[in-house]
């Protein structure tokens, strides 16, 4: 639970807008089945392409499905897919990374060479190649994206693990005769996991984007399951008549990714000092002005 507390305390220092956007996304994703006003897949051709109304707040698509319900249901698709990809990628990445950081030597060399090759490739090409060979489908997409994302978490885990292993207290544990397994599971793994989880937050946006992109290409989530990228491509032929059906899923996706990207920026260490804000400067000047009065 140590890393959970660290994770939460990091979250407290994040930009509120970003935390809000991500929180809404996760909330909608988790509780989607109870939040959708209509069945997201119920077609009603008599109600097709409707404008905003009391019964359909955001209108309907070309098959008469309620857009708001589909947008909410799509959040769930995205949250579930994203979580699966990240869990798989992190498991592989953290395992490989900590082993490399723990063993060092040729094990590290070999593993990191593979990671480097993986990192040199844009992640989408890896995913596309896997889907190209094994075919489309939900699990193929999840596996393809996990395969594309593990090298990143492996590199971060290795960096953290090397850092942890170099700390003096690990050396003293070793001298005291703690078993390698104990060092690995009680000290190395929890610390690494905590750090990597924070970075995963920043990566989640890119994963959500990749799922939507694959679905847009028809290689990811298949109809009729609602998904933002797939909703967008579905509505694209009717762009001229009802642009709202294209813009809404795009906006939803963009908002989520902005949220995650802002979190990522906040996570990245900012080493450059920023000038004082006008407010703080005035406060400091006031403090200094009081000194001279005291002296006089």
């Amino acid at each position: 639970m140590k890393f959970l507390r660290a994770f939460l305390s990091t979250l407290a220092g994040m930009p509120k807008v970003a935390v809000g956007a991500v929180a809404i996304f996760l909330f909608l994703g988790i509780f989607a089945p109870w939040l959708t006003p209509h069945d997201p897949n119920a077609q009603d051709l008599l109600q097709a392409n409707q404008d905003m109304s009391i019964s359909h707040w955001l209108g309907t698509d070309h098959l008469g499905r309620d857009t708001l319900s589909r947008l909410i249901a799509a959040a769930r698709t995205s949250v579930v897919g994203m979580s699966l990809v990240l869990i798989l990628a992190l498991s592989v990445g953290v395992t490989i990374g900590t082993i490399a950081g723990y063993r060092r030597g040729w094990v590290e060399e070999g593993l990191m060479r593979i990671v480097d090759v993986g990192l040199a490739m844009p992640s989408l090409i890896v995913a596309l190649a896997v889907i190209g060979i094994f075919g489309t489908g939900y699990w193929n997409m999840i596996l393809a994206l996990a395969l594309a994302w593990w090298p990143g978490s492996a590199r971060i885990s290795r960096a953290v693990a090397v850092n942890v292993m170099n700390r003096p207290h690990i050396e003293s544990l070793r001298v005291l005769g703690a078993s390698p397994l104990r060092i690995y599971f009680k000290h190395l793994l929890p610390t690494t996991l905590g750090a990597v989880l924070v970075y995963a937050t920043a990566d989640a946006g890119a994963v959500a984007l990749a799922i939507a992109t694959l679905s847009f290409l028809g290689l990811g989530i298949q109809p009729p399951t609602p998904e933002w990228g797939q909703m967008l491509v579905d509505a694209l032929p009717y762009l001229e008549a009802s642009p709202r059906q294209v813009i809404l899923p795009g906006l939803a996706l963009t908002a989520v990714v902005i949220g995650f990207n802002l979190l990522g920026e906040a996570v990245a260490l900012n080493r450059v000092p920023t000038p004082l804000s006008a407010k703080i400067l005035r406060k400091r000047q006031l403090t200094a002005a009081l000194w001279t009065r005291e002296a006089a």
Partner: protein, 311 residues
């Protein structure tokens, strides 16, 4: 320096061989019998004998190393096999599509290069003033909007509503603009952040204070002192983003009905046309290896510490 470059070239060649092996293995290990697929393509009710004949034709019964050697010599001479879907030769089809993708990526790259330098530099020149705030806003948006959404919005605004440019196709300069912006926006966003953050970090280093002590103004310090220090980082990021753009062609080309390599690759994946997928992968991966080599050489030339190594 030369020894460093030649070492990088050698590494790249090794990687290239590994890449061909990988592409070959992918297809050999792909599920489904290729001969059956082809036989079905030629006649809907192919017999077992037909399938055996095709296996013989394609050399599918030869030992793996022989098949690899045959495939590789074919690939080197531009013979990349026959599409299972259309029956066309993949090599010429691919060759005719490369210029389209090249033009897309080159145009997008130019957009990214210009926007990132202008926004990144303006942001560092007037930090926390409006050019910086605007640049950062655009960068955040560009990095967060999926390219298919950007493309759709651009088509709606400029082609559908304003009717300034054609919605799709490849017909003269006015039809190039939207695809270029669509594919170049993400790299522009990422790179402008690289420039902005890199310059700011450089300006916080002690040598920037030395430059202030010399009496240089902020613009001169940014240009002369900070810029050379971010060159290696920028080249590295530019290389990575060029790779991202090449893959992005898979999304952008179909959106604007451009028939480039990305479009071909997507069709190949959709119809499980292995020869096409394999050929496109080979082209993509070879390009990435070449790109990484160019980036490495670029970094050797812009980083004095690397440049002097081994000379």
């Amino acid at each position: 320096m030369l020894s460093l470059v030649s070492r990088r070239v050698r590494n790249s060649l090794v990687l290239l061989v590994l890449a061909t092996l990988l592409c070959f293995t992918l297809v050999v290990s792909a599920p489904g019998n290729i001969a059956v697929l082809i036989a079905e393509l030629r006649s809907p009710n192919a017999s077992f004998a037909d399938i055996q004949k095709i296996e013989e034709e394609l050399g599918l019964n030869d030992p793996i190393p022989v098949r690899y050697a045959g495939w590789l010599t074919g690939a080197l001479t531009g013979n990349l096999g026959i599409s299972y879907k259309t029956g066309e030769e993949v090599g010429p089809a691919l060759a005719s599509r490369i210029p389209v993708t090249a033009m897309l990526v080159a145009g997008g790259g130019t957009v990214a290069l210009l926007l990132s330098l202008v926004f990144g530099f303006a942001g560092a020149m007037w930090p926390r003033h409006w050019p910086d705030v605007a640049g950062r806003g655009v960068a955040l948006l560009g990095a967060s909007m999926p390219s298919f959404f950007v493309g759709a919005l651009l088509i709606y605004a400029f082609a559908v509503e304003l009717r300034l440019v054609p919605t799709f196709g490849l017909a003269g300069p006015s039809s190039w603009i939207l695809p270029w912006i669509t594919i170049g926006l993400l790299p522009a966003a990422v790179l402008s952040r690289v420039v902005r953050v890199g310059l700011e970090e450089a300006m916080a280093r002690p040598f920037a204070l030395t430059a202030v002590a010399k009496g240089l103004n902020r613009r001169a310090i940014l240009f002369r002192d900070a810029l050379p220090n971010i060159a290696p980082t920028y080249i590295n990021a530019l290389g990575a983003q060029t790779g991202v753009m090449v893959v992005g062609a898979v999304v952008v080309e179909p959106l604007f009905a451009w028939h480039g390599v990305g479009d071909l690759f997507l069709t190949g994946i959709r119809f499980r046309d292995f020869m096409v997928v394999q050929a496109c992968l080979l082209i993509f991966i070879s390009f990435f290896i070449l790109l990484n080599l160019l980036v490495d050489i670029g970094m050797i030339f812009t980083d004095p510490k690397l440049r002097r190594q081994g000379s």
